[in-house]
């Protein structure tokens, strides 16, 4: 006597069997915390500075070339203000703090943009920080200079400067 196919067999063929997702879940539970621990959430930047070098004195034949040299721009970071000195210009640009301990970076940015317009061939800023000025102020100032197309920042480390603050 022949029997027809069982009801269970016909049901298993018609209904797709659900895959077992538990191993995949376990894998995810391990991988996701692992990736979260090594994921970079903060992108670090590097800012390059250059050190002053001893420049040799030029002879008489170089005087014509010296006239074409860009003017030296010095930015002094003082405890209560910024001061910008442009070589050959007597007036010092002074940017006082907006309030106690709060530097006016916006004005510094505006002045740097103006200086770049008037000194297009100059790409270096001589930076002279006061020893008490915070590192944050120093780095913000460097950043403002670099963002205004002054890519070279010369960090003046000597205590005796040709620059005389007010």
């Amino acid at each position: 006597m022949a029997y027809g196919p069982s009801k269970n067999r016909s049901r298993s063929q018609s209904e797709p069997r659900e895959p077992n997702l538990i191993p995949i879940m376990n894998l995810f539970i391990v991988i996701i915390p692992l990736l979260m621990t090594i994921m970079v959430t903060v992108h670090l930047a590097m800012i390059e500075i250059t050190l002053p070098t001893d420049s040799a004195g030029g002879g008489d034949e170089d005087t014509e070339q010296l006239e074409d040299l860009p003017k030296v721009i010095t930015l002094a970071l003082l405890p209560d203000r910024f001061e910008i000195l442009v070589e050959g210009v007597e007036d010092i640009i002074t940017i006082p703090q907006t309030s106690a301990g709060k530097y006016d970076y916006f004005m510094l940015d505006s002045n740097m943009a103006l200086l770049k317009d008037s000194n297009e061939n100059q790409g270096t800023i001589d930076l002279l920080p006061d020893p008490t000025v915070k590192f944050d102020t120093l780095l913000r100032s460097i950043d403002i200079c670099k963002s205004n197309n002054f890519p070279n920042i010369k960090y003046l480390t000597s205590s005796t400067k040709y620059y005389k603050a007010k």
């Binding site: 996701i32 903060v42 050190l51």
Partner: protein, 177 residues
Amino acid sequence: MNTLSVKVNRSSGGGFQHRKRGNKTKDLNITSLIDILTILLVFMIKNISMDSTRKNAPEGMLLPTTITTNELIESGKAVYLKIYPDRILYGTESMRVGSLQDFLNKPEIRNSLLRLLQMESRAIISGNSKPCLLIQADKELPCLYITEFIKFSAQASFANIYFSAIHTDNKSEVLGL
């Protein structure tokens, strides 16, 4: 207390079939959860950086924010110097050098750090690379120490000096607006 329901099974000769209430459990549908986790996984794999171990922000240090960024010079090799308000750490292994006051006042601390930097510099130069100093300093640190370290590194033939900062695309953040 579980109650038993009794149902007459007509197909099997009228016998009684006992069924326990609450025995049937509904399967949890985790397909949507798997979908979310897959998206999360793809996102994380995309954002992961294998370089992260060397460029992580030092723990417990507040770094300044910048919009501009420079790359390390070609064939440059960086030596890390972490300057906290209370201590100085040297190298990727974060070897403790001493406090900032020790650095300023104790010649033996300065000499040992200078020797370390000079040794490192010579080793980098002998490997046909250029020595670079990467200074990671706390944003509240006075420039006095930064200037001292820059002078110091110049003595140890480190001509390329970099400051570490957190990169942002928002200029207003840098301008303090």
